[in-house]
């Protein structure tokens, strides 16, 4: 086997073992929200060729003192699929199409403060 064939064979082995496809949406600007935590997410299904779809409910609320809540944006969204999900989609002729949707909540962007002069 030549080098390219061997590389392709090794890549195929890897694909069968671990391959995942990720699509990510984020903001590349310097002032973009930064992630506060880890990926949270769930597997969602689109059924009947997309006529019915699951919508994950993203909760990035931080409960503060009393009844206050800080509502923060999402910093990043990642959609993933894999060989098994693709096979399900193909086997059902597209009737059922699963995907994994994950997100990271953003940090707050606090206004800068001034070190006070203690009294």
């Amino acid at each position: 086997m030549n080098l390219r064939t061997r590389a392709a064979a090794a890549a195929f082995c890897w694909l069968l073992a671990t391959g995942c496809y990720h699509y990510r949406a984020g903001v590349s600007e310097a002032a973009a929200p930064r992630a506060a935590d880890r990926y949270t997410g769930e597997v969602v299904w689109a059924l009947a060729w997309g006529l019915v779809q699951e919508t994950p409910i993203v909760n990035c609320d931080i409960p503060l003192a009393g009844t206050d809540t800080l509502k923060l944006p999402v910093a990043e969204v990642r959609v993933s699929t894999n060989l098994a999900f693709v096979l399900v989609t193909v086997a059902t002729l597209g009737f059922a199409a699963p995907a994994r949707v994950e997100w990271k909540c953003a940090k707050a962007k606090p206004e800068g403060g001034v070190i006070p002069l203690p009294r």
């Binding site: 080098l3 390219r4 061997r6 590389a7 064979a9 090794a10 890549a11 082995c13 890897w14 694909l15 073992a17 671990t18 391959g19 995942c20 496809y21 990720h22 590349s28 310097a30 002032a31 930064r34 992630a35 506060a36 935590d37 880890r38 931080i62 409960p63 503060l64 003192a65 009393g66 800080l70 940090k107 707050a108 962007k109 606090p110 206004e111 800068g112 403060g113 001034v114 070190i115 006070p116 002069l117 203690p118």
Partner: protein, 523 residues
């Protein structure tokens, strides 16, 4: 029942029981991960900061009572297990207050530098966030790592460096630390030789003001084991611009000379020799030495230079999350394809740039590197650069070890004052980096490289946050005490740690993780 002020630290339990670092080269089972938030996350409020301090003290008390180790997590950037614990992990990323010193009387009268460059950042601020904040005030960080995703506390604790030759690592611009060392004690630590804060400020916080050069230099690079670094007092500088030149050059005598001496006079650089570069970095592909080296230089200007080119727009095509893993599998299974893979990547990833210009925060962004990567970095004296490279090239050709599925990188910073900074070699340290996918072949190459460096008696040090081969003996050999060559600076560092915890000895073990114990640095 204690009265609640409504300003208490918010500690949110999570269901996470396994923690993985950013570069995914290890996972760690944990007892608990807590997400920490200031009570008022939207406005930097020093009163809330004080309450958060109390909350952190209470968490330390709980960990001590339960006999657990506790670790404040920064950006999860480290490749080594320096930040790992099987105990309680504190996600401090949301703790991102930042403060200026705009009022008279908040700085010690002995402080003679420009107080408008002084800032106090809570531990969870990432370097990228700080650069963004500073830019709004027409200021900038003096340096950072190649990427900016690390937290300020994590970056300085592991000696994160860029390649700003005249600046050094992140710890070089830190002038004060607010350390929470136990349930009943927290400390504002500065150098006695460089007092900065007005004593009334730590007093108001309830912190002991400790001014001690030895303790401060030890605490700067302390790998999370000197307590929780809650706040970092640092010096920024007026906003500046970096003009970047990236080019392929022959790896000739002039380039080697520059790499071994930082004398750039023989190297035809874009600006005259009278203006040395702010940043100098070299990449070598060990599989194609004839192809030359990829050299990056940056010049620093107070104003945007007239010939400064705009920053390129980020491309839509990026390396996939699993690309490193695929490369690891391929090069492990079929070693002889390694040069083909690396050569192709070099050509695609490293493109020339002439005069692109931006602020520090625009040039050094959050990393886009994802996936299972490996990196080992060694601090070496300048005159050993060629010898270390030759060792790497020889191993790369050895079929029992190579080929190495990665690249050799060289970055440079001035020697640090921190006791255990791995950038300790005078007058400047070359950081010799071996980056690649996290694979068996990579790990084997690292081990052989370290052994060969030992055999060649090259005095090298390991980057604390990268993959290393440290053990209790090796770490002591790597850091001879400059005052007493028969002793190790590691013992001086341990002594400083004991001194810090002498009033709360139970907390000493709270901040000793398995990694620290393995190095015999927890006593």
């Amino acid at each position: 029942m204690p009265l609640l002020s409504g300003l208490e630290l918010i500690a949110r339990p999570t269901t996470q029981r396994v923690w993985q670092n950013w570069h995914q080269n290890f996972t760690q089972p944990v007892h608990e991960v807590l997400d920490l938030w200031n009570a008022k996350p939207s406005v930097s409020d020093f009163t809330v900061y004080r309450e958060t301090t109390r909350g952190l003290q209470s968490l330390i008390g709980r960990a001590a009572k339960e006999g657990r180790s506790l670790r404040a997590l920064g950006g999860s950037w480290s490749f080594s297990q320096v930040a790992a614990t099987d105990g309680i992990v504190l996600n401090t990323r949301p703790l991102n207050y930042r403060f200026q010193f705009a009022l008279q009387g908040t700085v010690d009268p002995q402080y003679r530098r420009d107080a408008s460059n002084l800032f106090f950042a809570q531990c969870g601020n990432s370097l990228a966030e700080l650069n963004w904040y500073l830019r709004s005030l027409k200021k900038a960080l003096k340096t950072s790592g190649a990427s900016n995703g690390q937290s300020i506390a994590g970056a300085l604790s592991t000696g994160t460096h860029g390649s700003a030759i005249g600046v050094g690592g992140v710890q070089e611009y830190v002038v004060g630390l607010h350390l929470i060392v136990g349930p009943t004690r927290h400390v504002w630590l500065e150098r006695a030789s460089d007092p900065v804060i007005a004593p009334a400020i730590p007093q108001w916080l309830g912190a002991d003001l400790v001014r001690d050069d030895v303790l401060f230099n030890a605490a700067l690079v302390s790998m999370g084991s000197f307590g929780i670094i809650h706040g970092v007092l640092f010096e920024a500088e007026p906003l500046y611009y970096l003009q970047v030149y990236r080019s392929w050059r022959p790896l000739d005598a002039a380039l080697w000379h520059a790499m071994e001496t930082l004398d750039f006079t023989g190297l035809k650089l874009p600006r005259p020799a009278t203006q040395p570069p702010f940043h100098f970095e070299v990449l070598i592909n060990p599989h194609d030495m004839a192809g030359g080296a990829f050299v990056k230089v940056m010049y620093k200007d107070a104003q945007r230079p007239a010939d400064g080119q705009p920053l390129p727009k980020p491309g839509k095509i990026a390396q996939g999350d699993d690309a490193f893993e695929a490369m690891a599998v391929i090069t492990d299974l079929a070693a002889d394809v390694t040069p083909l893979v690396v050569n192709n990547l070099m050509k695609r990833l490293f493109t020339e740039e002439k005069g692109v210009c931006g602020t520090h925060g625009e040039i050094f962004k959050d990393t886009s590197t994802r996936g299972k990567a490996a990196s080992s970095a060694m601090g070496i004296p300048l005159d050993k650069v060629r010898q270390a490279t030759d060792i790497g090239l020889q191993l790369n050709k050895d079929p029992q070890v190579g080929p190495f599925p990665g690249l050799f990188g060289y970055r440079y910073v001035k020697a640090s004052r921190a006791t255990l900074a791995f950038t300790r070699h005078q007058p400047a340290t070359c950081i010799f980096e071996l980056d690649g996918p996290f694979s068996d072949r990579t790990k084997r190459f690292y081990q052989k490289m370290w052994d060969a460096m030992d055999a060649a008696k090259i005095p090298y040090t390991f980057h604390w946050g990268k993959i290393h081969g440290l053990d209790a003996t090796r770490v002591r050999q790597m850091y001879p005490d400059p005052q007493n060559p028969a002793a190790s600076a590691v013992e001086a560092w341990c002594g400083a740690r004991r001194e810090l915890f002498k009033q709360s000895p139970e907390s000493s073990q709270v901040f000793a993780n398995q990694w620290l114990r393995g190095l015999g640095m927890d006593a």
